[in-house]
């Protein structure tokens, strides 16, 4: 029983990380319809930005983290500005944008691998690594912070989308881009903002993981894949769905360890994904997947 609770707790922590990635990726995908695999590179970059800020620039931890989040947001924005938007201006279809995104992910990851080598680069968090005990469950304060950030970050994003003018613009573009354009909303600007926001909410995940086990160049690929699975299961266009999807995957992975060797975790998640799309292709809260433009 204790083991189960421990796995549940770890599952929630990991699920929070996946949730942050899923919400960010899902926001971008739902608004721009770009299959932005390079989001994994932004996730990874955030960790290295924090590492560089702390170790090379000597900034205090929280300044470093904040700077890293901002830098990650800018990075995501630049990817849209310098790669995706120019491609679309040339009439690129979505497969073209995807291939460019994939290429970008590969390039960035491997540049980081050369610059920083594949060895994990640590981010010193001092007291955060001290243990936190909740009954039979052993965690660290860092883990608790992870869950807190996921909740707060998600809430902040939802509030922003609901109450701010730019938030409304994003939602308009997300549900009816043509209509949004006729009302005078600049799709380009909204896309840039979406990329910045989506990157900003995922960046903490990359940083938190690096705080726990060090920054690694190739980690982002796995996270962005899981993010896309979470978004599909939660329903495209639904941020709560993405959150729940991420949490579910985290729980699945960790509870799965109870009976199944950890190497097979990914296989289990993927198998569940396939079953899910057979049974509920729209996901939990999804709107229509493809809208025929007649």
């Amino acid at each position: 029983m204790d083991l189960l609770l421990q796995l549940l707790a770890t599952g929630i922590v990991v699920g929070s990380l996946y949730a942050l990635c899923a919400v960010g990726w899902g926001l971008i995908y739902g608004t721009t319809l770009h299959f932005h695999v390079a989001h994994g590179a932004v996730f990874t970059l955030a960790a290295y930005y924090a590492y560089v800020a702390q170790h090379l620039l000597g900034l205090p931890l929280w300044v470093a983290v904040l700077a890293a989040i901002v830098a990650a947001a800018v990075s995501g924005l630049l990817i849209d500005l310098l790669i995706y938007q120019p491609l679309e201006r040339r009439g690129a279809v979505r497969t073209v944008v995807f291939i460019a995104s994939l290429g970008l992910l590969i390039v960035i990851e491997n540049i980081l691998a050369i610059v920083f080598t594949a060895d994990p680069k640590p981010i010193e968090v001092g007291a955060l690594k001290s243990s936190l005990r909740l009954g039979p469950v052993y965690l660290t304060w860092l883990h608790a912070l992870t869950v807190a950030i996921a909740i707060v970050g998600f809430a902040a994003l939802v509030l922003f989308l609901r109450w701010s003018r730019w938030g409304h613009a994003i939602r308009a573009v997300s549900s009816a881009p043509e209509m949004a354009r006729t009302v005078g909303i600049s799709l380009n600007r909204v896309h840039l903002l979406t990329y910045a926001l989506g990157s900003a909410i995922t960046a903490p995940a990359g940083i938190l993981v690096a705080m726990d086990v060090g920054a690694e160049p190739y980690r982002g690929t796995r996270f962005v894949l899981l993010a896309s699975v979470a978004v599909i299961m939660g329903g495209i266009g639904s941020l709560p769905g993405a959150l729940l999807g991420g949490l579910f995957l985290g729980l699945l992975e960790n509870l799965g360890v109870w009976k199944i060797p950890s190497e097979w975790q990914a296989a289990i998640s993927f198998g569940v994904f396939l079953l899910f799309i057979v049974v509920k292709p729209r996901g939990l809260f999804g709107r229509r997947v493809a809208s025929a433009d007649l």
Partner: protein, 293 residues
Amino acid sequence: MSAYIAHYLVMVGVYGILAISLNLLVGYSGIFSMAHAAVYGIGAYASAIVALNLGMGFWGGLVVAGATGALASALIAIPSLRVAGDYYIVASFGLQTVIVTVFSEWTSLTNGHAGLPGIPRPNLAGWQIDTPFEYVGLAVVLTAFTYLVCRRITHSAFGRVLQAIRDDEIAAQAMGRNVVRVKIVVAIVSSALGALGGSLYAHYITYVNPSSFQLHESIFIMSLVILGGSERLAGPLVGAFILLAIPEALKFLAIPDSVAAPMRQIFYGALLVAFMFLRPEGILGREKAKVKS
């Protein structure tokens, strides 16, 4: 024929089969797969396993490879293509991950990370394929076969429907075509053929292990398609000729392996991005995105 050049040609054949079959899927049907390395590996392992454990000959191994590749592909294509192309991307990403896990962890079947050595050389009704020259001949035959099969498919009524789907999928549906079924068929054929490349590889190198079939290999195969050009069926073969020559050329520069491997990846990744700007034809179908600023 120098053994060196023969080796190059055989590998061009292997990758030619992989890239031509991937092109059928990506270039001709607009469906993107991240799992072609997994398919490659399925063909290699299936072929190796039946040869080592059941004593099956080369042709039998080919058939098993093709069938296993087809089956694995059907498993992800049927549920995901029913919904949307993006679901297939995710599903293929997942398949790639799972298959590598199978190769690495299902040790009773695949011997895990140690791999399967001692795969017998092909014996075609008494004719033992031994010399590099003979392997080149076999590679040529299999590559030609793959090309001709793809050609037959694309230059037919089926190919016409494929083009119609690429140009305007809604109109294809309105003209009575079951677009989902067509895409599933293409995915299955593409994987069956790709698996043949794995079979050729396994019997040539006579050893397979999981490291040859990772995600970065899928990226490499994709680069062959992009570089060689996806508008022509044989374009990727040209890509194979070019890109396989490069590592050899790079060997003259003394770069440590820890840097060389990421550098190669950067090159392939940059190639993908660059070509999306410079030559998106073939991948570029009818403009489906409704939003352009």
